[in-house]
Amino acid sequence: MKRRKFDLAAAPGKAAVGLDDRFQVATPLRRLLNKVFPDHWSFLLGEIALFSFIVLLLTGTFLTFFFEPSMTEVVYDGSYAPLRGTPMSAAYASSLDLSFEVRGGLIMRQMHHWAALLFMAAIVVHMLRVFFTGAFRKPRETNWIIGSLLFWVGFLAGFTGYSLPDDGLSGTGLRIASAIMLSIPVIGSWLTSSIFGGEFPGTIIISRFFIAHVLLIPALLLALISVHLGLVFKQKHTQWPGPGRTNGNVVGERMFPRYAIKQGGFFMIVFGVIALMGGLFQINPIWLFGPYEAWVVSAASQPDWYVMFLDGSTRLMPAWQINIPLGDGYVIPPLFWPTVVLPGILVGLSTLYPFLEARHLKDYRSHNLLQRPRDVPARTAVGAMAVAFYLVLTLSGANDVIADKFQISLNAMTWAGRVGLLVLPPLAYYVTYRLCLGLQQHDREVLAHGVETGIIRRLPDGKFVEVHQPLSAQDHDGHGALEYTGWVVPKKMNRLGALGPAIRGFFYPIEKPVEAPVSPGHPPVEPRPERAEISSGSESRH
């Protein structure tokens, strides 16, 4: 009997054939694996958010194994001596145990918190990229709206998570949240007592926030992220304009293997950065804040950075209370405007922006090519205005820390914030607009007259002129024939190959550069002709 030989090299192929015979996956999979994604560093910013969300799910699941979402009062008896014997909620005690007793618990907690901050930061940075390049235009308005919703749902996820450890900082934040809800006219009291199950803080809020934080909000985030990615897939990614790229094609790399490998590597990098931060930087030392008591409020009690703009708007708001003489008298507290009305306006404006812009420009066509920020000065300037507004509010949210550490009067900080909030956004608009026009003008100048060569020529009449290298054949006025297309214009001679090919590599050359120049199109640079020494004649010698 002859033993059959096992052919190792043919095994994967045979297995694949077997799979395809049964499931008929080859045809759709080929389409999928061959899908082309355009490549640009700014298209990876959204992935940072996606990958930190994955890290959040992983670390968060670990935390749920040890966290006890209960407000039952216990007396702490763990290894952190300065709190031993202190009465506290079971939630806080289990958070302390997570930090001090559970092996690897502290780094997991810190990674979870850093990943949450990174998730929100990456969402904002990605959103800025999408905004400033016009990627939100038709047909991608839906994805823009989903993206803005992701920010606000992430905001809720962050806030509920911030409240769970039930330390002094969480409780202070919760108290403020309850005050914000109370400030809503008519429904405020009902809303607050239904969420807290009665008067603040009640006994149920931690369990409710827990289930919102680990089930409802993550499920919503996951659903939104899936639709977001599905739409990117369906509608295809936008790309920068450039040679060979049109509104009707996508130029880039196939999904498999290059794009997938790059994404896998980038996930590892994001995971690594989060793990490094979780291990190196202490975040939210709950053991120092102590258990939450209504009478304990520490200085520098701030929300996490993405909520800080609401804290700032509250600090800047003057104490304008509206008394309505109805019945026993009715009050709209000043807190209502900066914490309910302002975010409401921001949600509305940010989600509606694509439609507002299309209506304003009467532009209802589909756009798959991006625009450089300088080519749409008005949009870029509006974006700069929004960033300035948000920055002033965020800095004002930390104005007590800034005032203390930089030795500025807190009152001066508040007034600087109030004035800055009104003055800086218009200023940012103006400055950005002019910058965009200036950059455009420089591009047009190069297209018309050519690249500066750095060679200064002296004319017979004594005048000095700089020699320009035209980019194309010139007409009789000496102007180039190239149209302004809204894409990168070479500004330096070595971009035109004058100094041979640029050396490739990020930090160091990937390969030793060949003796320049290599292209037969570019003749070797001849040594400079010898010049006679310039002197003013023999009489100058004494």
Binding site: I269, F281, E293, A299, A300, T394, V401
Partner: protein, 278 residues
Amino acid sequence: MTSDNDRRRGLLARLRGRPAARSRGRRRLGAAVRLLAALTLAGGAYTVFAPGAQAQDTPPLSSAAAEGKALFDVSCVTCHGRNAQGVEGRGPSLIGVGAASVEFQVSSGRMPLARQEAQAHRKPPLFTDEQTRQLAQYIQELGGGPELPEGTDLHSDGDIAAGGELFRINCSQCHAFGAGGGALSSGKFAPSLRPASDRQIYAAMLSGPQNMPVFGDNQLRPDQKADIIAYIQETLKHDQDPGGFNLGRYGPSTEGLAIFLVGIVALVFASLWIAGKS
């Protein structure tokens, strides 16, 4: 009932009735004796209860206080005036502030003041411990006031856990959860407690310097003060920060800064690098 009234009336009538029987001369003599007795009683009572007649303008100072006065007359008199009575618009009177206050202000370098501003800053002290004690003794003998217990270690008897709770209730509103300090209104601030010694913290609680409220012994007992100092010195100063670099313990504001300066910057460079690989 009526018989009671009658008896009482009879007694009064008897007292009233008797002088009518006395002669005019005896009556005058009796009045003179009564006046004399009343005067003697009043004078005697005055001499018993009135402060000593020997009170002098300047009580004799102990030798340490005399040294302190010499220092005071060189370094402090410009603002606090002669005999520490204060100068309008320049410096307050120091009568009754006590040795604790002097020790806090001078040993932490806050006094002598560098310039008039919202609040004095800590700086290297100008006087030695010996000189500080002399100044404190002088102010103490001048007008009395709160004094510190002896010794440089005022916290080893303290209970850290109890001190932590007291610290979070009484101190963290201004000095913040990590004792790093915080802002108050109009340029005033609660300073960081990290450089403070046991005696300085105790003195600050006793004397309530600048904008700090006074925590007298009826608000926080001496043993509670020791608890608080123990929490500050043992836990807040020696906490090893198990989570890594503590970012200054300024709360979420520096954490937000870190995620952009470290996290986002690192990952943007990573994405530049990855996208460059094609």
